[in-house]
Symmetry: C2
Subunit: 435 residues, 2 copies
């Protein structure tokens, strides 16, 4: 049967539409063709197969707009250190000896975690990204994926020219794939010269591909770029021609008002990773100002080694709480604004324009939150429960393109037990490197 | 059998002791009498009953050092509003018509949530606190509980004098109870006159009871108290004689260096509620300064209407992340410091001196974290997993005084289904009041 009714106690179609009590969606061939109350849908489609969540919230799948999923293999390896100590003594030594199969198994571990967090689409940049692609296809969720590019030789592709070739070949191979799109991923402006950025921009333009880059993450980066080029990172990128509709600018903790204006005019997307920014001591991005400027805002967890999870519910909550707290004003950001960023804002940023809300003609990419969980009672306001109370473990079902990826908390696409065993082995190999 | 070995992949005895790989504890009559590696314990106690968590972390139960658990019935009722609008249009109208049975069922709902979050001890102040006491006894976890006292008439006890009498009668009735202690709970310095505080202090002194009070929560409170008394709240309390070893000072977002010194000299305890402070727009308490001054620090969720959960794992993580972020320094606070606050710091603050760590002669109050959860892999560092990754849903087992309260995620002491039904009914009654 390629027709289906999915009915639930609540439907939250999108951030700015009212929730529907006792509602549902009608799906045909993986696309949402109707939405309404249970009664309306059952009357219109009396003979269609029904799946009913008597005590669930049906919502769009979440979009994790920035991460490095293979880094789950380094989660908790070292904590409470300065960024330089953490990178130079732990992360870089392991990444220098990174193995393809670590990337593959680390990706699968993270994909399970993301599925259980209600994520149907994510954006990733790392080394050996073809392994991330392979794992993502197996998992059944959607990704905008790209190989991290920088001027020094990569343990993955070798010299930069090979990285650019790899990116182009991936762009050719994944046109019109149902789950995967490819991005061009220069790492940062301090690891990529303006010439490298220009090469990336040419590819981005040629294929209409997104340009995914870390920008203005912390004060050290600002200092370095200002010393080297006499201007701030986003200004510099704008001069090279990189601030445009394809830009996915990640972090922006230290973005200036002038740079906000540049991004707003250019219709670029801004990816906010509040928990990683806090944990690494980078600071707090000026999100109310970003929203006010009309910039498309999305939300990401960043990699699981600096977060230390891939829980987009927690990320939404932190995004709200931190602004209210530091501005000492509980009205300065709302649950709706952050839920928008974690759904429609994310899918728009990543160029997946037919997902991110439960709406006619959109793909059936959705999650079910289980209200049997005692922390989710009472249910005055389903959106408040989603943003301020729910967490990864509260999602019982996940669907991508009309196909169930998780049912009753069981991931259907990958072998959870096998992954655990592989990760235990990889842990021992990693410990040998840093000991 | 009143003897038992509990063995696990990891034992985290306390914040500052190294974790034991493949370790366990020996328990007799609800008290920990030995701790060591699996091998040592099995050799010493070959014939004692064993419970083995092959893939678990055994840790002390968490201490939620400040909350108002009946407020779960108001969770999500109204969001993203100024504090005054939230209180006067939603919280106060409902509390004015508060029913005893709402307090009882709301408490049970929260107790389930706390048990699932690994909490074995909590501190509560609300109205109709006898209902909280009744629910807590049924749940099987420990509480320092007290009726909230203020100058205006209470929907619970009526005039203040009756509230003071109630507090004294509870103090008499709950001496030497295995689970419950009673605190004297003047609400704040803006709802209680200095005379009321003095009456509370007399009772506290007479019974050796803790004095549990909200202090210096936000800028409005500082302004009000300064206008009324010409000094800051903790200074004022010190003048009345209330800053001493029995003081449990909650929030302290706006504490001054002078007040930090007062609390440090007096050996008072400071309860940090970071998520509520952020969500209500109060600000961020100066926690590194509190720790540096040697003040006993504990951690609390505050009530579930302003958090919106009772997850102490999330609270530990936020406590770390927020300080690292706003100080732009990842070394400014550590997982160990925050784990200490959430365990030993809490039990010390609440006057339960035989719990809060896994140590000889301490009560067997402990939690098991389930490492089968994919977000908790790999396990390089169990403490980092506890503070930076675990969340409420990761606790599979909970023990208080040697007795299992939860096994395999099932709470054994209360009827979860019945509570859900009651909460659904209360929700409808609450909606009638505010509509």
């Amino acid at each position: 049967m390629d027709e289906k009714l999915i009915l639930a106690k609540w439907v939250v179609p999108s951030a700015y539409e009212p929730p529907i009590k006792e509602g549902g969606v009608f799906i045909k061939k993986g696309v949402i063709l109707d939405i309404g109350t249970k009664e309306q849908l059952i009357n219109k489609y009396p003979n269609v197969e029904r799946e009913v969540f008597e005590n669930g919230i049906l919502m769009p799948g979440l979009v994790n707009a920035h991460t490095h999923i293979p880094m789950s293999i380094l989660r908790g390896l070292a904590e409470d250190l300065s960024l330089m100590t953490w990178l130079t003594q732990y992360i870089f030594p392991v990444e220098a000896k990174l193995k393809k199969e670590w990337v593959y198994w680390g990706s699968l571990l993270s994909l399970i975690e993301m599925i259980k967090s209600g994520i149907t689409l994510f954006c990733d940049m790392y080394l050996f990204e073809e392994e991330v692609i392979k794992a993502t296809e197996e998992s059944g969720i959607k990704g905008l994926l790209g190989e991290g590019l920088f001027d020094f030789p990569s343990p993955s592709y070798g010299p930069l020219v090979k990285g650019l070739e790899l990116t182009e070949s991936l762009l050719r191979n994944f046109q019109n794939h149902p789950l995967i799109k490819i991005a061009v991923c220069p790492h940062t402006l301090y690891t990529c010269s303006p010439d490298t950025i220009k090469s990336c921009l040419k590819i981005s333009e040629r294929y209409g591909a997104k340009l995914h880059i870390h920008l203005s993450e912390n004060q050290e980066e600002i200092k370095l770029i200002r010393e080297r080029y006499g201007k701030n990172p986003i200004e510099l990128l704008a001069e090279i021609g990189g601030v445009n509709e394809n830009l996915i600018a990640v972090h922006g903790v230290k973005i200036t008002p002038k740079e906000i204006e540049l991004m707003s005019k250019a219709k670029s997307s801004f990816i906010h990773c509040p928990e990683s920014n806090l944990k690494l001591g980078s600071g707090v991005a000026p999100i109310p100002e970003i929203i006010k400027a009309g910039i498309n805002l999305a939300l990401g967890t960043d990699g699981p080694a600096s977060n230390n999870d891939l829980d987009m519910f927690s990320e939404m909550r932190t995004a709200c709480l931190i602004q209210k707290g530091i501005k000492e004003d509980p009205t300065v950001i709302t649950a709706k604004e952050v839920f928008y960023a974690a759904t429609e804002g994310g899918s728009k940023a990543l160029g997946f324009l037919d997902t991110g809300k439960l709406s006619l003609g959109y793909k059936a990419d959705l999650a079910v939150i289980d209200l049997n969980n005692h922390s989710l009672q009472p249910d005055y306001n389903p959106l408040a429960l989603i943003v301020y109370t729910a967490k990864a473990g509260c999602v019982s079902h996940l669907m991508v393109n009309g196909k169930w990826i998780m049912k009753n908390y069981q991931v259907l696409t990958v072998d959870e037990e096998k992954i655990r065993e592989k990760i235990e082995k990889i842990k021992k190999e990693v410990l040998k490197i840093i000991s």
